[in-house]
Symmetry: C2
DNA sequence: ATGCAGTAGTTAGAAGTTATAACGGTAATG
DNA sequence: CATTACCGTTATAACTTCTAACTACTGCAT
């Protein structure tokens, strides 16, 4: 499906993808703010303004990168969820898949869930990826009965439109949400290097957090 | 103590502080990457290169800002901890004080615990502020007996050099750590706008997370 | 095959940015 | 009072994004 279209369009897609590859490379070196259309163009053997035939401006490139990264996250989460059969193990499978991906692609992770950069953030199709992630989590916790009710459940019972038409009970919404925020808490601090200078293993901290959410479900 | 020194030094400090004020202002508008020494100089009524008498380069300014922000965080946390007497309420007091500050100063928060920007991050005195935060948390959880032991405790028992000479037991280290990562998980996603488009109240999610850590301590 | 339209690339240039260099004036100090 | 250290200035180099104007190629229809 990605190779349809006349040769011109195909070439166009090819160039765009090459630009994005180089952009990721540059992001890895200098961070998102250090990305330069000009430098990318030079590396591709053409003059600066040529790239403006492919991306209206820097922001459009960034937006595209964010969209791609978010799609990758959604893929990682949903394939991890699909791969694990045992409902009780699914959360851990998802969590570790996400962390593994994040450690391998820290910049992609931060582009999606890190500090928002004014100008380039939240492309429209992003909501679709976000929903895919949330759906995977809701599917997962829907199958695990909550070990108890929490005050938050009541609130979520009447504020659940973000879950779409998903039939998961409030307690599952709650655990999906806290599962997300807890994973993010550890992963983002780890990626940001906030644990450097400490000797403990972030993975063990992460595992404890996963276990903590699991404890909120019946076993 | 901040007003010591000869008039020259005082003037110098005054200018530096004015530069930083304008820098924060600019960060609030255009984000950390959009900060410009040139623009700041113009706003102060002087020519661009003049500022280089006060900051060697952009990175040094950024580094200074990060250091200040981290100090503010440490202040917020430790004063909140000192203000609340009841040990059982202290964690909540700290948490809500931190969240309140973060909501009021999102850019400062992100500069400290957000996406690391290659070049300007982790000034040396930052470790001091980090330790102040950690100490406040350890003091807090040291006074609350853990409701049970977790596998992570064992690991932390032998990897606790980041806690300095603090006498808190491993279970307190564990709760301090997860308290931090959980607060950060909710706060950073909220500040990043990841909850926009949802109608639930982030504060209630945050409160639930605080309660969750409290549940890991005896009441 | 011919001709036309759309696309892709080029250079030139405006308006920014960081940062250095070289030069003046000023202010505190010996 | 003279010297030294500091502060601010302009000029410049090397970047950046992005627009404008022009050229050349490619593919399609007649």
């Amino acid at each position: 499906m990605t190779e349809s279209g006349n040769p011109r369009e195909r070439y166009r897609r090819q160039v765009r993808s090459e630009v994005k590859d180089l952009a990721w490379q540059q992001i890895a070196e200098t961070g998102a703010s250090g990305i330069s259309l000009n430098a990318i163009a030079k590396k591709m053997g053409m003059s600066g303004p040529a790239l403006y035939r492919y991306f209206a401006n820097r922001d459009e490139l960034m937006t595209d990168l964010i969209g791609d990264a978010y799609r990758e996250i959604a893929d990682v989460v949903s394939t991890a969820a699909a791969a694990e059969q045992d409902p009780a193990v699914k959360p851990a499978a998802i969590a570790h898949a996400l962390r593994r991906w994040a450690l391998a692609q820290p910049h992609r992770y931060f582009l999606v869930w890190g500090t928002p950069v004014p100008g380039y953030a939240a492309p429209p199709e992003t909501v679709h990826s976000a929903r895919r992630v949330m759906t995977a989590l809701l599917d997962t916790f829907e199958r695990l009965r909550a070990s108890d009710e929490r005050p938050l459940d009541e609130h979520l019972a009447t504020h659940r439109e973000w879950a779409g038409e998903h039939p998961a009970p409030p307690s599952a919404l709650r655990r999906a949400l806290t599962f997300w925020t807890r994973m993010h808490g550890v992963i983002s601090l780890e990626l940001a290097g906030q644990f450097t200078g400490t000797s403990f293993d972030p993975e063990q901290l992460f595992a404890e957090e996963v276990a903590a959410v699991l404890r909120e479900s019946e076993r």
